[in-house]
């Protein structure tokens, strides 16, 4: 290892045994952390110490640890994913912190995301929104050749910008209203931009926004916190596009 500098940090972590427990903050010390540790590897180290001391480790959702699966979900020092531009908390590295720092770690907080345990929340509401219409109703097989319908590059690129959403829910956690407009807007826009999605665009935007409201998500009041929190940098223009699609749908 090229450098042996280590850090000691104070962690103030939300602990909550289950959905019914009121929960509270607990303080821990993270020792021997290097700048190359990822944030989750830092927590792994803390957990190893807790286990060996016979204490319950901190549970948190994580899986790919490369910023694409959308499973990790922690509010670090008040910012979803820790506030580094376009970075999931699993990709956040300890070089962004200093020796002696105090770090607050909390779960996503939103009405639609009940806490399951510690830093783990239930995000099935996001699945419910997709199930309401986040697809094209094509059958397996019986579809035209991939090149039968041309899609201009700028359209394909813009659809991809929207499609980059990893469904982590940081936009909801960052929003003062707990809204899922960026999440929903991204899927509505991706499919509304592409010729394959246009046939069902009217029903889709109506059904998805309805599901969004029914799941207990709030509404957009243009704070743009969602875009700031989004680890993929999804642009709020997709909320505007969804609103246009929604308005159009009222007259369709």
């Amino acid at each position: 290892m090229s450098d042996h500098k280590t850090m000691t940090l104070t962690l103030i972590v939300w602990r909550q045994k289950n959905a019914n427990d009121p929960g509270k903050f607990e303080t821990y010390s993270a020792k021997n952390i290097t700048e190359h540790h990822s944030f989750l590897e830092m927590l792994d180290c803390v957990n190893e110490d807790l286990i060996l001391a016979g204490k319950e480790p901190i549970v948190f959702d994580h899986d790919c640890r490369e910023g694409i699966c959308g499973m990790c979900s922690q509010v670090v020092n008040g910012a979803p994913h820790g506030g580094q531009d376009r970075t999931t908390v699993c990709q956040l590295h300890m070089r962004k912190f200093k020796d002696g720092d105090t770090i607050y770690i909390e779960p996503w907080r939103a009405r639609a995301f009940p806490i399951i345990k510690d830093l783990i929340v239930d995000r099935t509401a996001l699945d419910t929104i997709i199930q309401a219409g986040g697809y094209t109703s094509c059958h397996t097989g019986g579809v035209p050749d991939g090149n039968a319908i041309l899609i201009p590059k700028p359209i394909a690129e813009e659809a991809t910008d929207a499609a980059e959403c990893i469904g982590c829910g940081a936009c909801v956690a960052g929003c003062p209203n707990g809204a899922a407009m960026l999440f929903t807007g991204a899927k509505v826009s991706q499919l509304a931009l592409l010729p394959q999605g246009k046939a069902e665009a009217v029903a889709r935007v109506k059904n998805m926004t309805k599901a969004m409201m029914e799941c207990g998500f709030g509404n957009c009041t243009n704070h743009y916190e969602c875009q700031a929190a989004c680890p993929k940098g999804i642009n709020v223009k997709f909320i505007a596009r969804m609103n246009r699609e929604f308005l159009k749908a009222q007259f369709a």
Partner: protein
């Protein structure tokens, strides 16, 4: 026992069409009477659950994540192959088949690979129809890039996010079926047992990872689409939750495990930075389209800044050794070459574990903007992890365990030797032989899920009476009791080492002895040491908390316990296979220039292992491989 893959006979070009016609069909009105269990909802499982649900079957789908959208298929970056031949550069179904068989070092079944190549074109059409935003050119046509082991451009892609986009396509199709009620989705469930009644797969036992409840589900067929097992090396490019558990539980109930020693070590991963590291991150192979791989020629240069090493002092070793494929040589060859350079003391970065992947020439030729457009997200990811700007200085890369070509043995219908148990995607062994080519994993997952299992499962279901066995059967009760007992055991040991410590220990043994270069000594060493670690695990592991709540340590204990059994099987398979082929490299079997030396006379077969009980030697069964369309040849990429 000699295994029969039940491959169709006759001309290969007609084999799949003929087989589909020969398969018996389930009457549309009868489909809803059948229940199908799908474990895993990545590309293979998600696509299969969606397609089977749409056909009218009742599907119960399970995943350990909080949503099917998170399966690790999502992390595949580079692309998906298809024999569309849109660029008119000489591609065809036969050529894709040839490249795949050759890339796999002649250790895969011809009929399966033909089928994969044939349906590859349907996959692209399907994904486009779902709204997958593939890269397009300015005229609006689908764009292609090149990948390792091919001399044509047949890889379709969506930035560096192809796996994500394809998975979200399958997830959207699955979501549509969940809404329609044909698929019942169970999130945060981990399969901990396969229930076999009178020799037939009838259901599964799972742990509800939120409540801790042990639940049973019965069905007329069980499909495992549970991915690969390279987390047996501890550090790999897989997600943390990826395990061999579902497959290993099935193996312990009698399913044969085929070719476990065929593991892929991917050449372009970000090198390990320290001991605490929890996983390795892949940099897509597509980077090798525009990046040149090199190591310093002189040992005294390894600690210099790369910019201070003159071109004459750089060894572009892939271009030197494999002039016709160059930086796009297959993964096994590229990984071994990088390891050779590092073993010779020419590695760069921490611990000398790294070679350079350099974009300077491409940036000069094409501009930084073009490179950013092609790989921007990969460069960003590299910078987040290493704090280095790869537009300004070359990336450091090192090989890492990435993919399992081995898996549960299946016949041409994707059914294992246990009737009613089907295995899809990376979890089976079928098409990649001893080495998988880039952009072929996504192709296989979606092929199995959208276009193979929906046909072949019907051929089995017509032979069984729907709903014949329910969870009231004593085998289900016994399964629940067994699973609970095992979980209680983990919790009661109360030893002095964490689950992760054991996993890291196993990983080191696997990497050092069963990694990129294997020898009789190293493998025997592994076979000796792994049972010792296993014994210690069962006496000294510490798992806190209880079984009746969300308990990640308990989940992980089960996975590591299975790796500790499976790792030994992997080493045994590698020991028995006295040849080098693809990802399996035995130092005793190499040509004078260091290339892998296959032994087609003695080892041209699939090695499928039957579990015989703990601490008993498994029994080997063979399925001979026949090559009638593609002639056996020494694999050369020079």
């Amino acid at each position: 026992m000699i295994l029969d893959g039940k491959c169709p006979t006759g001309p290969i070009e007609k084999s799949w069409d003929k087989h589909r016609f020969d398969l018996k069909l389930v009457n549309p009105a009868n489909k809803r009477k059948y229940n199908i269990i799908m474990v895993g909802t990545g590309l293979a499982g998600g696509a299969a659950a969606a397609s089977l649900g749409e056909l009218g079957y009742n599907v119960q789908a399970f995943c350990y994540q909080d949503s099917p959208r998170r399966a690790h298929s999502i992390a595949a970056q580079g692309g998906i192959n298809a024999a569309k031949n849109y660029p008119s550069d000489g591609d065809s179904i036969l050529r894709l088949m040839y490249d795949t068989i050759k890339g796999g070092d002649f250790r895969a079944r011809e009929a399966d690979v033909w089928r994969l190549s044939q349906v590859s074109n349907n996959i692209i059409d399907q994904c486009v129809a779902q709204g997958v935003p593939f890269a397009r050119d300015y005229a609006g046509y689908l764009d292609n890039r090149s990948f390792g082991g091919a001399q044509v451009s047949r890889t379709f892609y969506s930035r560096g996010l192809t796996g994500q986009q394809l998975l979200l396509g399958a997830y959207s199709a699955l979501s549509r079926q969940i809404k329609a009620g044909t698929v019942q989705m169970y999130n945060r469930r981990e399969m901990l047992d396969l229930v076999v009644v009178d020799g037939v797969a009838r259901g599964i036992t799972v742990r509800n990872m939120v409540t801790g409840e042990i639940e049973s589900y019965a069905a007329d067929a069980v499909c495992l689409a549970t991915g690969g097992y390279v987390n047996v090396f501890y550090l790999s490019t897989n997600a943390k939750g990826c395990s061999v558990t579902a497959n290993w539980k099935a193996a312990k109930k009698g399913a044969f495990f085929a070719n476990p020693c065929y593991t892929q070590i991917h050449p372009t991963c970000i090198p390990q930075a320290g001991e605490y590291q929890s996983k390795l991150t892949l940099m897509s192979e597509s980077l090798r389209n525009d990046g040149r791989i090199w190591a310093p020629k002189k040992k005294e240069d390894v600690s210099k800044l790369p910019a201070d090493i003159s071109d004459a002092d750089r060894d572009y070793f892939l271009e030197r050794k494999y002039p016709s494929y160059g930086n796009l040589a297959p993964r096994d060859i590229s990984s071994r070459s990088a390891k050779e350079a590092c073993d010779a003391g020419l590695g760069v970065g921490p611990g000398g574990r790294g070679v350079y992947l350099d974009f300077a020439d491409s940036i000069k030729r094409l501009s930084e903007d073009t490179i950013r457009e092609r790989y921007g997200n990969l460069f960003e990811m590299y910078e987040k992890i290493t704090d280095e700007n790869a537009y300004k200085r070359p990336m450091r890369i090192y090989p890492a365990p990435h993919y399992a070509m081995g898996g549960l043995w299946v016949d041409y219908n994707l059914m294992s030797n246990i009737p009613g148990l089907f295995v899809l995607g990376e979890a089976n062994f079928s098409v990649h032989g001893a080495n998988r080519l880039g952009a072929s994993a996504l192709m296989q997952g979606l092929s199995d899920g959208y276009f193979v299992i929906p046909y072949t499962i019907g051929g089995y279901l017509v032979t069984v009476k729907p709903g014949a066995v329910t969870t009231d059967h004593p085998e289900f009760k016994k399964s629940v009791v067994d699973v609970k007992a095992t979980n209680n055991k983990y919790l009661s040991i109360n030893g002095k080492k964490t689950v992760s410590e054991f996993h890291r220990e196993l990983g080191k043994v696997m990497w050092n002895n069963v990694g990129m270069a294997r020898s009789k000594e190293s493998l025997n060493e592994a076979i000796k040491v792994i049972p010792q670690i296993r014994d210690e695990f069962w006496n000294n592991v510490k798992v806190t908390g209880s079984g009746t709540e969300l308990n990640q340590q308990l989940e992980n204990a089960g996975r590591v316990a299975d790796f500790l059994e499976f790792g030994e099987l992997l080493a045994r398979d590698a020991l028995h296979r006295e040849e080098s082929c693809g990802g399996h490299f035995r130092v005793e079997h190499q040509l004078p220039d260091g290339e892998a030396m296959r032994d087609d006379v003695n080892f041209s077969y699939v090695g499928a292992w039957e579990y015989k009980g703990n601490d008993k030697e498994p029994e080997l069964h063979k399925e001979p491989l026949k090559f009638e369309t593609i002639h056996l040849a020494v694999r050369s990429y020079k």
